[in-house]
Amino acid sequence: MTSSTAIDPTAFAEWLQRVGDNAIILGHRISEWCGHAPVLEEDIALANLALDLIGQGQLWLGLAGEVEGKGRSADDLAYLRDCAAFRNILLVELPNGDFGQTLMRQFLFDSFHIELLRSLREAGDSRVRDIAAKAEKEVAYHFERSTDLVIRLGDGTAESHARMQRALDKLFRYTSEMFVDDKLDETMAEAKIAPLPSTLRPAWDRTLAHVFAQAGLTAPDEAWRQKGGKNGVHSEHLGHLLAEMQFLQRAYPGARW
């Protein structure tokens, strides 16, 4: 059977939206580079990345709708929820900034994402395990790629180094939200479906230390932490993103290809 421990479907569905919304919102952000990346090869690579993430978001949100049991599809969740119903972390909704900022955000997220997906191999729900297994292969490549580029650019020219350090200084305060445990996380951990986010932190810290040492970058102190997205408290940026992402379904409800 799919689930080993009985869990409140509302809580389960909300957790799935956290995972799915991270993927779909970051996927949309990355898709904004399409046609604008610094070189053609990067443009295509970023489009692939965006499509991977949107595909993963579709699977997670599809399962969220199924678990919720109210007849909502992945599309309903992606295109018909308003800001406050989204559960993605703030990091992924931030504007792309320059190419360095986009890459740094990607690295900070990928290094967390891969740890989460690996730990979901043990998830006590086969549907979660299946989606995580598919996503893990894709994210392993995303992680490899963003790591490589962060090192190259951090350890590149004076200009590229300065841009990567600036990006890190700007984005780092948004990372702690990935590892905050709240009540919902505890419920998921008790049901043995997902790990407590805080347990992913040591591996993430090691990755960052290792990569930043090679890149010559320094993570700032986390004096000020930005969070809220996991509970639906978002920055102004998400509304603008949704206005574009959801336009078609809002203006032409039920429109199909």
Binding site: L40, E41, I44, N48, D148
Partner: protein, 94 residues
């Protein structure tokens, strides 16, 4: 120093047992990035099991103007095709 990244030729092997085939070219700062870029540009539709990249500069090509001397002489030597041998029946289909 040139601001343009060097050009790389990309070869993809579609299946085990087949040879790598030239599929196109791309720009990349070094071989490792060229492989990554090739993965993203040329294997999006599950085309490959292996990628080779080689700097375009490192390929020595025959000159189109020498086409005549290089290739014409062989066009009249049909006896080089192995189609004049009688294959004994016992050998069967080759």
């Amino acid at each position: 120093m040139s601001k343009q990244w060097p050009l790389w030729e990309v070869f993809i092997r579609g299946q085990h047992g087949l040879s790598h085939r030239h599929v196109g070219s791309l720009h990349a700062p070094d071989a490792e990035m060229a492989i990554r870029n090739a993965r993203d540009v040329y294997t999006r539709r599950n085309e490959g099991v292996s990628i080779w990249v080689v700097k375009s500069l490192d390929i020595t090509a025959s000159a189109p103007s020498e086409k005549g001397p290089l290739f014409d002489p062989s066009s009249t030597k049909i006896y080089r095709h192995p189609s004049f041998f009688e294959i004994p029946k016992d050998v069967g289909h080759m």
